[in-house]
């Protein structure tokens, strides 16, 4: 039986879709069978980030309304044979799918896959509830900004109210330099407010922008700090005990030398 994980945040633009794409590909490259479900009906993005937009024939609403079988709608990623995407519909809205539909759909996917990862829409309305209801585990994504943390707090409250107990946190887009200077909330500050378990910290990384635009997931790129961090998260999901590493871009000799001196 597969495990259903929802990735959610409340606030938009904090990196939910990027996290889904990268954790999904990371799990797939660790030989897990993974299905990614885009629950952001009407504002679909996941297919674009994965570079699978041109292969969509049927979508989640087609499956729910019986126009297509689940197998027909699932798009296999040729780069990662054990990765599939169930795309959202773009011409419909959140009302097209009910919470019961989502539970049924995920129960069907559980039989085929090891992990089902749901990309939740921003907000706390119908779309959010649809995405969260079938989940066994929720990963809340936030950035170290007061507004994003506030929304994450609200979402964790709603998760608890929906009796979701297994909630984890990703702090995304952390800039070590700003944190060191005291100009950005640190991961500890965020944890103090939200008080839930941390499953990963993702540094700010230009590679993400490039990979998102190209539709190529990052996890196979060992030079990308964010890619390595997502790979660590995938390992933690599989139960491995991976220490929290704050990866940085590889530096040339000179900058490393200078940094050593700065640190006294």
């Amino acid at each position: 039986m597969g495990k259903v994980i929802v990735i959610t945040s409340g606030k938009g633009g904090v990196g939910k879709t990027t996290a889904v794409a990268n954790i999904g590909t990371a799990l797939a490259s660790l030989d897990q069978k993974v299905a990614l479900v885009d629950a952001d009906i009407g504002l679909r993005n996941l297919d674009v980030v994965l570079g699978l937009e041109n292969r969509i024939v049927y979508d989640i609403v087609d499956v729910v309304e019986g126009r297509a079988k689940l197998k027909q709608a699932l798009i296999k990623d040729k780069r990662f044979p054990s990765l599939c995407l169930l795309p959202a519909a773009q011409t419909r809205d959140k009302e097209a799918v009910s919470p019961e539909d989502m539970v049924r759909l995920c129960n069907n996917l559980r039989e085929e896959f090891d992990f089902i990862i749901i990309d939740s829409p921003a907000g706390i309305e119908r779309g959010f509830k649809n995405a969260v209801i079938p989940a066994d585990m929720a990963i809340v994504v936030t950035t170290p900004e007061v507004s994003a943390v506030r929304d994450a707090d609200r979402v964790i409250g709603l998760l608890e109210a929906m009796e979701k107990e297994d909630n984890k946190l990703i702090v995304n887009r952390v800039r070590s330099k700003l944190v060191d200077r005291g100009d950005m909330l640190s991961v500890e500050d965020v944890l103090e407010i939200l008080s839930i378990d941390l499953i990963g910290v993702i540094p700010e990384d230009e590679h993400i922008i490039i990979s998102t635009n190209r539709g190529e997931p990052l996890v196979n790129n060992n030079n990308a700090p964010a890619g390595r961090s997502f790979m660590d998260i995938a390992r933690r999901i599989l139960g491995e005990d991976v220490p929290m590493n704050m990866y940085t871009e590889k530096e040339d000799f000179f900058t490393r030398f200078r940094r050593l001196f700065k640190r006294r």
């Binding site: 707090d153 609200r154 964790i156 409250g157 608890e160 407010i193 008080s195």
Partner: protein, 197 residues
């Protein structure tokens, strides 16, 4: 004196005042008999004006009620349930943004009150954790109410009709503090042993 029946919005209250004798029970019986449709499928709350209700009286009233189809008993209230000052609830969880607690007595929270959450008490508010959200103590006008927290850093504190805003500078230490009303304004003091002076 005796038994009074009153319809509320969602339920029916049966007020019991003083001794419940055969006469009162008979009166209740006839009243129910006359208004059977009013009671059918209804929800009933029994209120007793006194300290604890005699079992015999209660069982007789329930006997009368059980002769009607589909009636449910919501509960029995007596006046000996403590009210106001002696009244407090303990909440053992962190209140997150968007969550709200209000109570007609004191509120004790074992956990944090995060920004965006609100706590409204007719009495005092005690937070064994960080208070970052909105706290309104003495919400019905009691200026003697206090707000206490292990880390008192709310955006706003209200006591009775007085509102205080957080200072703009950031506090760097988290120490237990207490907020109370002095000369028509809210003052915040470090909390030390010996209670409130």
């Amino acid at each position: 004196m005796g038994i009074n029946v009153k319809g509320e919005k969602d339920y029916i209250t049966i007020k019991v005042d003083g001794k419940v004798d055969n006469e009162a029970i008979e009166a209740l019986k006839t009243q129910i008999e006359r208004n059977k449709s009013f009671f059918r499928e209804g929800k009933v709350l029994i209120k007793y004006a006194g300290e604890g209700m005699p079992c015999k009286a209660l069982s007789e009233i329930i006997n009368v009620l059980s002769s009607i189809d589909g009636i449910t008993l919501l509960g029995v209230l007596t006046e000996s349930i403590p009210q106001s000052e002696e009244n407090a609830i303990v909440i053992k969880k962190t209140l997150r943004s968007g969550q709200s607690i209000s109570y007609n007595g004191d509120i004790v929270i074992i956990g944090d009150v995060n920004a965006g959450a609100e706590v409204i008490a007719e009495g005092s508010i005690i937070v064994l954790g960080s208070l970052r959200g909105l706290a309104h103590a003495g919400a019905m006008g009691d200026r003697s109410a206090i707000v206490y927290a292990l880390d008192l850093s709310p955006l706003q504190i209200r006591i009775a009709d007085i509102i205080a805003r957080a200072p703009n500078h950031v506090k760097n230490k988290s120490i237990p503090e207490i907020a109370k009303v002095e000369n028509d304004s809210i003052v915040i003091e470090t909390f030390s042993h010996g209670g409130i002076r």
